[in-house]
Amino acid sequence: MTTKDLIESAGLTPLTRFEPRDVDGAIVSDMLSDVMASAKSGNLWITVQTHKNVVPAANLVDVSAIVITSGKKVPQDTLDLANQHGIAILWTPLSSFELVGKLYVLGLVAK
């Protein structure tokens, strides 16, 4: 499953420019420290955190995309930094819980 597949099948809205890549499982966390300690390359990072620090954290652990849930507005400086480095930020009005359920049904699993 790729980020492109997920955008179409889960109805996610891309907010930045990026190259599609494979998605390998997901991590749900609103703490950068938790993500830096636990995320694996290719994970989808599901969070309500929109501070621009999510971008270097996502890049450090090489997640496939950040998905901002609950319809939270993403500040422009976060989007600018992500665009600068080709980090995918996707958006959904669904809560993290609802999105995870949807992804599970769609068959997103860790390899």
């Binding site: 190259e19 890549r21 300690a37 390359s41 290719g42 480095h85």
Partner: protein, 171 residues
């Protein structure tokens, strides 16, 4: 990554001598306190974690207890060595991150280059390096610490629903 411990990075400043020092705490502390002529006030308290690295071949554990955190360059000082490296390495799709040790000890006892390479390798080995890579450098490359507006990758403002404001220089 092994021996992971979650806690807080505390930045405190003395209003008497203006010294800044940092430490890792398992407690969320904001208390002001006296120590001799110094009056220490917490400048920032951010959730973070500490860890060690373990070799998967020989099981050797390398301690990173002396690592305060990683900072990313925001390009605030055009003639700063880190900013110049950031621009140079951006063309190779390499992110420069700046490693900090705990102050004031880290100024005289830097984390060895060997350990910075180990940390760099750790993050590169768990990523798809055909897309981009990481390079970690020591904070003495920063031209002027007291003017640096780089951002630490740690959790600030976690209890607020508002986006944290841009931070002032911490040092």
């Amino acid at each position: 990554m092994t021996n992971i411990q979650f806690g807080f990075t505390v930045f405190e400043k003395c209003s008497h001598c203006q010294t800044v020092r940092t430490y890792f705490s398992t407690q969320d502390t904001w208390d002001e306190y006296r120590e001799g002529p110094c009056l220490w006030t917490i400048v920032e308290n951010a959730q973070t974690f500490k860890f060690d690295l373990q070799c998967t071949s020989c099981n050797h554990v390398e301690s990173f207890a002396d690592l305060l955190g990683l900072l990313y360059c925001t390009g605030c000082l055009p003639d700063c060595q880190v900013e110049m490296m950031r621009k140079e390495y951006a063309t190779k799709k390499t992110w420069i991150l700046v490693a900090f040790g705990f102050l004031p000890e880290a100024k005289s006892q830097p984390i060895p280059e060997r350990k910075l390479r180990m940390l760099t390798d750790h993050f590169n080995q768990r990523r798809d390096t055909s897309r981009s890579t990481i390079k970690i450098v020591w904070f003495d490359q920063i031209k002027n610490l007291s003017l640096c507006r780089g951002e630490f990758i740690h959790d600030v403002g976690m209890l607020s629903l508002e986006t944290p404001e841009e931070r002032k220089p911490l040092f």
